[in-house]
Amino acid sequence: MDEWNDQADQGGQDGPVETVIEVRNLTKRFGSKLVLDNVSLAIEKGKTTVIIGPSGCGKTVLIKHFIALQRPSAGEVYFRDQRIDRLSEHDLDDIRTHFGYLFQEGALFDSLSVAENIMFPIRQHHRDVTRKAMEEVVKAKLAMVGLDGFQNYFPANLSGGQRKRVALARAVALNPEVILYDEPTTGLDPIRSDIINELVLKLEGDLNVTSVVVTHDMKSAYKVGDRIIMLHNGRIIADGDADQIRSHPHPTVQQFIHGQVSEDDLAVLRMSGVVAQSQFLPRDFEK
């Protein structure tokens, strides 16, 4: 399709497992709030690792550490064999070109059109590429997420799901070796979600891309994940393939994957008056 496909294509399927990203004893605090508590994790090359966990448990914070967008309060982060958590922003620039990062909210540049958003990383790192070649890449990447024809739209004129897909197209514009997806299917309809799942699988299969997918969507987790990790209160409480997770003994894991509310949470709702008190209807003020 284009000349940047080659870079991601190196390395064989066999041989001993090779880790691409590794975090050791990672702890992250915001002020006094402990978000990640001594997390250790190694991401294998060419595999898709899914990270699940309740909202606010620190999934986004964790994968931001993988490209040093966040710095640890304690612990170490490695890319291949290089320690990256202490590197200067300048030294990180090179390392980050190996990654594609899909932001949870998309983070598209709202002053640039869809096409210019996707061209941005190419322009920054491949100065000699002609305009025409770039337009072809943009067309191919947009077609991949089902949005060819939207080149001249601005992010403000797209729906939430369309923005997310443009952001995905931008994240893979440089054909990175490692792609970090922060909730790629949230906000998409079921069919579109499944197309994104297929896309993740295809990138992994065809180009041997290493993927980390953060998601709440268990269907997509089982489908794309070679390995599933569950994060809870800043710790890893489960780690295994889809079958191991399905039959995991930990009650929190079972509740999460079946979408069951815990009795404690229900008790709060059942407590008399909690819901009524939180709704101020006009008639409350009439008395």
Binding site: H90, L92, D93, R96, F103, E105, L108, F109, R123
Partner: protein
């Protein structure tokens, strides 16, 4: 009470240190990116936004300064029978002080506010993180073009303000106050030296740098949410305004001592 004050003072020192580091990185990055072909279109766009669209407001500011000075100063000078010296007074004040300072304040509001709001919004919507995640230095991509555009264009805009101030002052003097135009220009030419105009323009260089650095810094360190962006804009304007006045004072002192040391030599050469 004392503990709060102390904590606040320490926080202010830390912030000043951060601003200093940010400014240093911005300046070195800008200097390096002058040599990069990729920077030119970005600077060009910013020059358009920052410079070209500011011309009208800056010219209006200048014209009113000149006109007001003429009206105010006339009575004082006429009382002493010196009304033909009005030109010197107006033109010196305009090119040395009021033109540069008021044009810079105008720019702090118009350009500084827009810069902070733009970068602040980019910050809270993770667009700056997105730039970092793609291996590009946001200071190089966002700050350097804005800083360069401000540095180059503030002096130019000040020249516009000066011109309009001179024209405005002259028009009021001739048409409303009935001063002899020949005498007016003669005294002006005698009293206003190239040195005075240069001071004003050099000041513009410093004011432009201060506005760009402070506004970009406030945008980059902006807190979450609409309130955070609004707060950052207010802070940026207040900080730019104060630093314009402080720089003006510092530069006035510096230039005066330079003038006293070196300008007399001119007569020896000439």
């Amino acid at each position: 009470m004392i503990a709060t004050l102390g904590a606040k003072a320490i926080q202010d020192m830390i912030n000043a240190g951060r601003l200093g580091r940010f400014a240093w990185r911005a300046i070195t990055t800008s200097a390096r990116s002058c040599a990069r072909r990729q920077t030119f279109p970005l600077v060009w766009t910013q020059m358009n936004i920052i410079g070209v669209r500011s011309v009208p407001v800056v010219m209006i500011t200048g014209a009113f300064v000149g006109m007001t000075l003429a009206v105010q100063a006339y009575d004082q000078l006429a009382g002493m029978g010196l009304e033909e010296h009005l030109g010197v007074l107006i033109n010196i004040s305009v090119v040395k002080e009021l033109g540069p300072v008021l044009a810079a304040v105008m720019l702090a509001g118009r350009v500084g506010g827009a810069l902070t709001a733009e970068l602040g919004t980019m910050n809270v919507t993770e667009q700056i993180d997105a730039i970092r995640s793609m291996g590009t230095d946001p200071i190089r991509y966002l700050v350097a073009p804005r800083l360069l555009a401000c540095l180059m264009l503030t002096p130019v805009l000040i020249i516009y303000a000066d011109l309009m101030g001179v024209v405005g002052g002259a028009l009021v003097s001739f048409l409303q106050l009935g001063i002899n135009s020949r005498a007016y220009w003669n005294f002006s030419a005698y009293g206003v030296e190239l040195w005075d105009v240069s001071i004003g323009v050099i000041k513009g260089f410093f004011f432009g740098g201060a506005i760009a650095l402070i506004s970009c810094y406030k945008g980059f360190t902006c807190k979450e949410g609409a309130h955070g962006v609004g707060q950052a804009c207010t802070d940026a304007f207040v900080a730019s305004f104060i630093s314009i006045l402080a720089l003006d004072f510092a530069l006035a002192v510096t230039f005066k001592s330079i003038y006293l040391t070196f300008w007399p030599l001119k007569s020896l050469v000439g």
